[in-house]
Symmetry: C2
Subunit: 216 residues, 2 copies
Amino acid sequence: GEGFVIIGLGTFGTTVATELARAGEHVLGIDRHERHVARVADELSEAIIADARDEDALREAGVGAYATVIVGIGEDLEASLLATMNARLLGVKRVWVKAKTRTHHRILLKIGADRVILPEQEIGRHAAQVLRNPQVRDYVSLGNGFHVVEYVASEDMDGWTLDRLKLDDYQDLRALGLMRGTEFVPCTSPETELKAEDKLLLLGRREDFRRFGDVL
Amino acid sequence: GEGFVIIGLGTFGTTVATELARAGEHVLGIDRHERHVARVADELSEAIIADARDEDALREAGVGAYATVIVGIGEDLEASLLATMNARLLGVKRVWVKAKTRTHHRILLKIGADRVILPEQEIGRHAAQVLRNPQVRDYVSLGNGFHVVEYVASEDMDGWTLDRLKLDDYQDLRALGLMRGTEFVPCTSPETELKAEDKLLLLGRREDFRRFGDVL
Ligand SMILES: Nc1ncnc2c1ncn2[C@@H]1O[C@H](COP(=O)(O)OP(=O)(O)OP(=O)(O)O)[C@@H](O)[C@H]1O
Ligand SMILES: Nc1ncnc2c1ncn2[C@@H]1O[C@H](COP(=O)(O)OP(=O)(O)OP(=O)(O)O)[C@@H](O)[C@H]1O
């Protein structure tokens, strides 16, 4: 609540701003390029042309009244740092910042960012995982080395029963269930039959998945 | 198998290349800037300075022998398009391409990319979701409007039984289980007691989660 300010309306900043606005949130967008402001002005509550390095400009834009600032300036480290520091100076409670490198990441955390986001690294890691294991469609990390993996059953697995996956051979691997189109199929019985394209929802440790992928 | 070529060693390309190399895959990295090639040369199987727009340069680099090419050139649309077309001309089976805009996305698919990746949009959408619902830690899309959401129990929810979430009031919402530290707790009984910080694994439709988030 209490609105969102997006400073830097590049691809990332514009996406965050418009997604929030479409969900009904109050969004102020700020960029120093008139064209970048103009292309989102209709969708946001407010859109202002300003240089984020200028504390007074941000104060006049009313940034201090907001609970959250997102800084979407990736290339210009100095501008990204100044925007972050200015947001903090104006009393903003939550500041998230997009960055390009681990070094930016560390510096930003030191100067007051609550969270630093590295889109190219996150998506790059994810792409590498899926490239190596095409049946791994997506996954979430739960922390502590555990993951929930969306694993798509291949043609060869059509007709297999669940026990053929030998999940018990692994330290901590289990099937939470599977989606077949729009139908949820529980995986409580080892006799459960799989069909090609079924989306198995597997929970386990990273090491389990590595071996599981090698075995299949 | 059969190796990976990464054309364009920016942040995304470098991440994909090094992640694959660290997993033991055979990786060839290509970039037109000597510095970008030099910084990853030690980690990859091979690293070459070349302009991806030059089909002969790519042929000489041996790109035709690989099964997969990843194009990590985001800014220069023409170079990204040419790199994609060249990879196809050289007979590469799988070509994934990073892009910045929906327009690039559509053009790339038309000229032969198997998959187009938009890191800033994907992470931007994800960030917007988490900003609005801090308890939504992560999620995967299963297609057909279904998602698996990692939902962190708040302090207020400490001691709640599962039935207090009233999951049955929603069209398709169910608890697949929850992680408490490194322990998996099944959610088969409505009497299951929740603790703060528990990571609930919920499966449901987008609309269900929207209402669920509003109610809680
Ligand atoms: N000092 C500044 N004040 C306000 N806006 C700025 C400032 N510097 C850069 N911007 C804006 O930030 C936006 C993002 O800029 P940048 O070129 O760093 O993009 P990027 O990190 O490549 O972004 P993306 O990948 O999200 O497109 C641009 O719209 C740019 O005009
Ligand atoms: N014609 C080309 N041939 C080979 N490499 C190229 C060519 N054009 C650009 N590159 C390289 O592609 C890489 C990515 O370039 P670009 O500036 O488009 O990055 P980007 O999309 O902002 O990348 P990232 O966000 O992943 O850092 C750079 O290392 C650049 O040298």
